[in-house]
């Protein structure tokens, strides 16, 4: 029998050491006057309350399950010396810090916050500036990156890093972040079942979102604007992209979205506006495009071979220079019930569906695909004339590529 005394002391021991978390203050005049000291003093499940101030530190290793909470955005200044925070324990929360001056290196990817092989992390309300890599998640599952702001000042691709990078990390939620001015806004590699939601990735050097070999991910409500080359989506399966906006990716080699080797994806209700190429598709099969808006793009959709069994339905194609561009005469994709602003047919029985099929591939876009130099004749009267004659009697463009039920009104607003 354990005596009452022992039991009480045991409970007291448990309470003080494990169950009840202490709060440790970190400030310039406290006992813990640096984040590192604070971590050293803390025991598991403690909270470090970091007061407003400037902490010049780097290589901070969080090796216990702690909560690092900033009050009034304390500045952690790495002075360009290297990595700033590295998380190597499960259940770590980082909240409300302002991290600046991450070191640049050509051999190791210094990050403002790096999570290594840890579970259940939460990184929120963090502001990062003057960074190399921002938040780097490495082989860590079940985490959340919420409401952070990453403002880079990248100038060249070769010496800049990515805003949020996930590498071999599954079940992570990336939500409500703002990323701008880095190389790739959000970068995923080998990361499955990730949710990317409500983020704004703008003005990045290369891609707003870039992912490879990452399956079963969901992307909703994100905005990708004015990035060097738009969004690149490659070698992934069963991706769901809903309600995203791809805007103003304008340049000779830019596109709203590049799909390469993507299979069985769902692309619903996205907006592609003012991109040189709305979607550039290569080797992607069984994708459903539904309810998307393509507005004022150079090419709304450019199909570059080996794309089979894709379905395009209820999309709005509005005022694009070219709606669809195809480089082969073979077509295995279905276009049905889309709205095309260039459609000139009529609807005698008033059922909202045009009586004449619409052919979205213009002869000019076919010729340009064959001989790219001919693009110099863009907006020439001659091209308009032959486009018209091709429209009347198609000879060169894929003859089974048409929308048999073109809508008379936009499928949605």
């Amino acid at each position: 029998m354990i005596s009452l005394r022992t039991l009480v002391s045991l409970i007291c021991f448990l309470l003080t050491n494990g169950l009840i978390a202490n709060t440790i203050l970190v400030c310039n005049s406290c006992k813990a006057n640096s984040v590192k000291k604070g971590i050293a003093l803390a025991s598991d499940f403690d909270t470090l309350l970091i007061k407003k101030g400037i902490y010049k530190e780097f290589n901070i290793v969080v090796d216990k399950p702690l909560t690092l909470k900033g009050e009034g955005f304390p500045v952690v200044d790495g002075e360009d010396k290297g990595e700033i925070i590295r998380i190597v324990a499960d259940n770590v929360t980082i909240d409300g810090l302002f991290i600046v001056n991450v070191g640049t290196s050509y051999t190791s990817d210094y990050a403002a916050i790096r999570v290594v092989k840890s579970k259940n992390f939460l990184i929120q309300n963090v502001v990062l500036e003057k960074l190399f890599f921002g938040i780097y998640i490495e082989k860590s599952n079940h985490g959340r990156i919420y409401h952070n702001k990453i403002i880079g000042d990248a100038k060249d691709e070769y010496n800049s890093g990515n805003g949020i990078q996930l590498w071999y990390s599954n079940h992570v939620e990336v939500e409500r972040n703002i990323v701008q001015g880095v190389r790739d806004g959000i970068y995923l590699e080998f990361s499955d079942e990730v949710l990317i939601k409500d983020n704004a990735s703008t003005n990045n050097l290369r891609y707003g979102l870039h992912f490879m070999f990452s399956n079963d991910d969901v992307y909703t409500n994100n905005i990708f604007e004015n990035n060097g080359a738009g969004v690149a989506v490659m070698f992934s399966k069963r991706i769901k992209m809903y309600d995203n906006t791809f805007r103003k990716n304008w340049g000779t080699a830019a596109y709203g979205m590049l799909l390469k080797e993507i299979n069985d994806a769902e692309i619903f209700n996205n907006t592609f506006e003012e991109n040189t190429i709305g979607i550039n598709i290569e080797g992607s099969n069984r994708i459903v495009y539904k309810g998307n808006d393509f507005k004022n793009n150079g090419w709304a959709i450019k199909v570059l071979g080996a794309c089979y069994s894709n379905t395009f339905t209820q999309n709005n194609f509005l005022y694009n220079s070219f709606d669809i561009s195809y480089n082969s005469r073979l077509n295995d994709n279905v276009f049905d019930k889309n709205f095309w602003s260039d459609y000139t047919g009529y609807d005698l029985n008033n059922d909202g569906i045009g009586d004449v099929p619409y052919r979205p591939v213009k002869l000019f876009s076919y010729i340009v695909n064959r001989t790219p130099e001919t693009i110099v004749l863009l907006r020439s009267l001659f091209m308009d004339i032959i486009d018209f004659s091709e429209k009347v009697s198609p000879v060169f463009t894929p003859d089974n590529l048409f929308d048999t039920n073109p809508l008379m009104k936009k499928s949605h607003d």
Partner: protein, 260 residues
């Protein structure tokens, strides 16, 4: 020469055709801006119109004026005036009044809609300069044709053919040769082919200044490297000037030798 220029100019002003032309552009400018309300977008639409309509109107107007004022020309020829002054004066009178109608007709609505504060002012200026050159070039071409052909129907036919050739057929031949020789590097060829046709040259010059040039891709980059530099701009302006001078020179040359 200036007296004849002045006379032709006022003659056209009185004949109300210049006003029709002026009002047409005025209406066009206002309608475009009313529908678009975006100056830089209106510039693109306007370009399509300018590179097709301006040469056509220049051509028809030139031929018409030349045939109409034939008796007056013969009267002047009986006077002790140099032949070159007579024809140059008439040509410049027509060309200037057309250019003036174009500049004012398009300039007024755009200025009212806030062109001066917009960033499109440079593109717009380029557009007008090109329009002016096209007017000068095609009026000169049509004067040439009218001078050589006594038969009005023939004269009209040939001038329309010249317009058709430069505006449409040339591009067709250009396209064919690009496709036939697609195995070869075509950058220099397309540059030269563009330079040789004033309509294509104007179109390219304007396109490259607009956002839409991103669509041109690799070829566009080659073009931009050429036309985007000062040297390229000077060469293209020089070509346009050459295109104006050659027909005018031929006009004077033929006029001197023609037996009226």
């Amino acid at each position: 020469m200036f007296k004849i220029l002045k006379y032709s100019f006022y003659d056209l002003m009185r004949s109300s055709w210049s006003y029709v032309y002026f009002l047409f552009y005025l209406a066009l400018g206002f309608v475009l801006l009313f529908l678009n309300n975006d100056v830089s977008k209106a510039v693109i639409t306007l370009m399509n119109i300018i590179i097709v309509l301006v040469p056509l109107i220049g051509t028809i107007f030139g031929v018409m004026y030349f045939y109409n004022s034939k008796e007056f020309t013969e009267l002047l020829l009986a006077q002790p005036i140099k032949r070159s002054s007579i024809f140059l004066g008439q040509y410049l009178g027509v060309a200037f009044s057309l250019t003036l109608s174009l500049l004012l007709g398009l300039g007024i609505p755009f200025v009212i809609y806030g062109l001066l504060e917009s960033t499109a002012i440079f593109d717009f200026t380029l557009l007008l300069v090109n329009g002016a050159f096209l007017t000068l070039i095609f009026t000169a071409l049509s004067f040439n044709i009218a001078l050589v052909n006594e038969n009005k129907i023939k004269g009209f036919g040939y001038s329309i053919l010249v317009w058709l050739f430069l505006a449409v057929i040339y591009d067709g031949l250009f396209l064919m040769s690009l496709i036939v020789f697609e195995e070869y590097p075509l950058d220099t060829f397309s540059l030269v082919a563009t330079l040789l046709n004033p309509i294509d040259l104007s179109r390219t010059l304007i396109l490259l200044k607009l956002d839409i040039s991103a669509l041109l891709g690799y070829t566009g980059a080659v073009f931009k490297n050429f036309f985007g530099t000062n040297q390229g701009l000077i060469i293209s302006l020089f070509t346009l000037i050459l295109w104006t001078f050659l027909p005018v020179w031929r006009l004077l040359f033929k006029a001197k030798r023609k037996d009226f």
